[in-house]
Symmetry: C2
């Protein structure tokens, strides 16, 4: 049996009340006594029974998820996963509230974060827009002792406790190597379709991609980035246009959302051409395109894992517990036709 508070009391020669005061950092304990108790805790190897503690406290964890009100498959998926987590929340003693904030709008995010600072939830998860004032707002929350994790997109240089998302530079490099190897030394041009260069994940993916291509696949030339604003219609138009004008294109890297438009353009304009295509995010559309050969590989981050990981980390931080790092690392999934889930 693991030791309990009673065992600490006995070992330290103090009363239960004093042990409780030390454990919960309540005032009214002399320094010497406090140290006596603390060393007893260490000696007998006491670990607080979190389940019992939460039961006694009647505690639930009021968590807040800030999700961008963005209209693409990936964000819809993320939202669905948060809702699924909300559905499970009573069982896990969490009380998750989601707040939609305008996408790519640092000011809106900041004001929401400030509001939350007054509310003092047990933890905050957010899809960060990478701006200095957002970072400052997050850091203020952290300094107030509120656990904060970023999801999907991280915040440069902030004090957030954790980032539940993939390494986007590595993702870009991986895409580059796949494209480069699949093209087998051929010479030609690569088109890159992004959502917007104002978003950190997209910038990083491009950065990793471009670096590896130029370092290891010099026979491939990267064309100026096409910014499709994650909008299927716009993406369709821009990609169609590029394919018509340039017939040196032998590969495409789609690093953002809006793949529906890309896929349509490919089917219309490139059915005859042997294009190699690598895209991000597994959705119904990209899955179908992978299966029918329009896309050759899909890089993906599992939104469900990200949401669950964020919640686990917030809970652990709220309880002052440690997390299993390997469990919380969000992996970059590579899907070929053959290993689809």
């Amino acid at each position: 049996m693991r030791p309990t508070v009673h065992d600490i009391a006995a070992a330290a020669g103090v009363s239960l009340a004093t042990v409780d005061r030390v454990l919960n950092q309540r005032p009214g304990v002399r320094k010497v006594t406090r140290e006596k108790v603390e060393s007893a805790i260490r000696e007998i190897g006491y670990v607080r029974d979190v389940a019992a503690a939460n039961l006694a406290k009647g505690r639930t964890y009021p968590f807040v998820f800030l999700v961008p009100a963005s209209d693409n498959s990936f964000m819809h998926g993320l939202n669905a996963e948060v809702r699924a987590a909300v559905a499970r929340s009573p069982v896990e003693r969490t009380d998750i509230r989601t707040i939609e904030v305008p996408a790519f709008d640092p000011a809106a995010l900041v004001s929401e974060l400030e509001r939350l600072r007054g509310e003092r939830p047990a933890g905050v998860a957010l899809v960060a827009t990478d701006a200095p004032d957002v970072r400052e707002a997050v850091d203020r929350l952290v300094q107030d002792g509120i656990p904060v994790v970023t999801v999907v997109s991280d915040l440069t240089g902030s004090l957030r406790h954790h980032y539940a998302g993939v390494d986007n530079i590595a993702a870009g490099r991986t895409a580059a190597r796949l494209l480069g190897r699949f093209l087998g030394g051929a010479k030609g041009e690569i088109a890159v379709l992004a959502g917007s260069m104002l978003v950190r994940d997209h910038r990083e993916r491009l950065e990793g991609f471009a670096a590896l291509i130029s370092a290891e696949f010099p026979s491939l030339a990267i064309l100026p980035v096409i910014e499709g604003r994650d909008d299927p219609e716009l993406a369709h138009m821009l990609v169609s246009d590029a394919l018509s004008k340039k017939d040196g294109i032998i590969g495409i890297y789609s690093l953002g959302a809006g793949n529906r438009g890309l896929i349509r353009a490919l089917k219309e304009k490139a059915a005859d051409r042997a294009l190699t295509v690598v895209a991000h995010e597994l959705t119904a559309h990209t899955r179908a395109a992978l299966l029918d050969g329009t896309i050759d590989a899909i890089l993906n981050q599992d939104a469900g894992h990200e949401v669950r990981s964020a919640i686990r980390v917030l809970k652990a931080k709220a309880d002052g517990l440690s997390v299993i790092d390997a469990q919380e690392r969000i992996r970059l999934d590579i899907f070929l036709k053959d290993n689809l889930p």
Copy 2:
């Protein structure tokens, strides 16, 4: 606040004791009363507070892990993960015991399983050796109401509750596509290094690999399988030999363990040749070989995830709860030089 047993009692118009009898399936409740209580439970949407229940029961989950006494990096890694789980076990109210069983020895596994049947642990996890009498022994455990999950290697047609491992046919197909695409239509021979064709995962990987190569990459010819028994020395010898004799080899698929020997052979015999190599299981050796270009891609299953998943599933089954399927699906990791963890 979520409803409690008191709420059920009030809603059903019975006493707490009766609710308790129904909930814990104790005798002494008339059918009509039982149904009244059950419908009240459904109506108010009561879910048992597992934490409080376990506290009251003073319950710990005595789980047993049967791991093969196999001397290769992967099994060592698996063992380490189980030990890590054991270290965490007091916090999670689990009491995990590991038992080493001789590898690839159905009889030994069966006798251990039979012994456990008498012991009645709260759950059993095992790396299955795929044999009919093992299946029967597992099914007897299941029929006795003991939760059973297979880890890494599954058991054909058995009643086990769950399999915490990757789809090995898909893994073989994925390896085939990677090799095929990386080779870019070149013509030549592919060598396959396996541990033993007596193990199910290896058989399945080969099956998937061969099927896809012959269907989609007809210019590639698969040489007879080299069985290295997961032994680095033997693998080294056999691969060296093959490389010396056949100079039509342009690709290698290593689907088992013992990659240390393979890597040595490659460095000695094929430094000059442009071989494309796909191997399984990320270890210190394969990682180094991937980074220095000796290996082109590594397929991996995360032993830590498998172990934690197995424990989560066993716990859920023991409590009669459901699991989050997406969370428990073990993914096939594809590692290139650029997305190593």
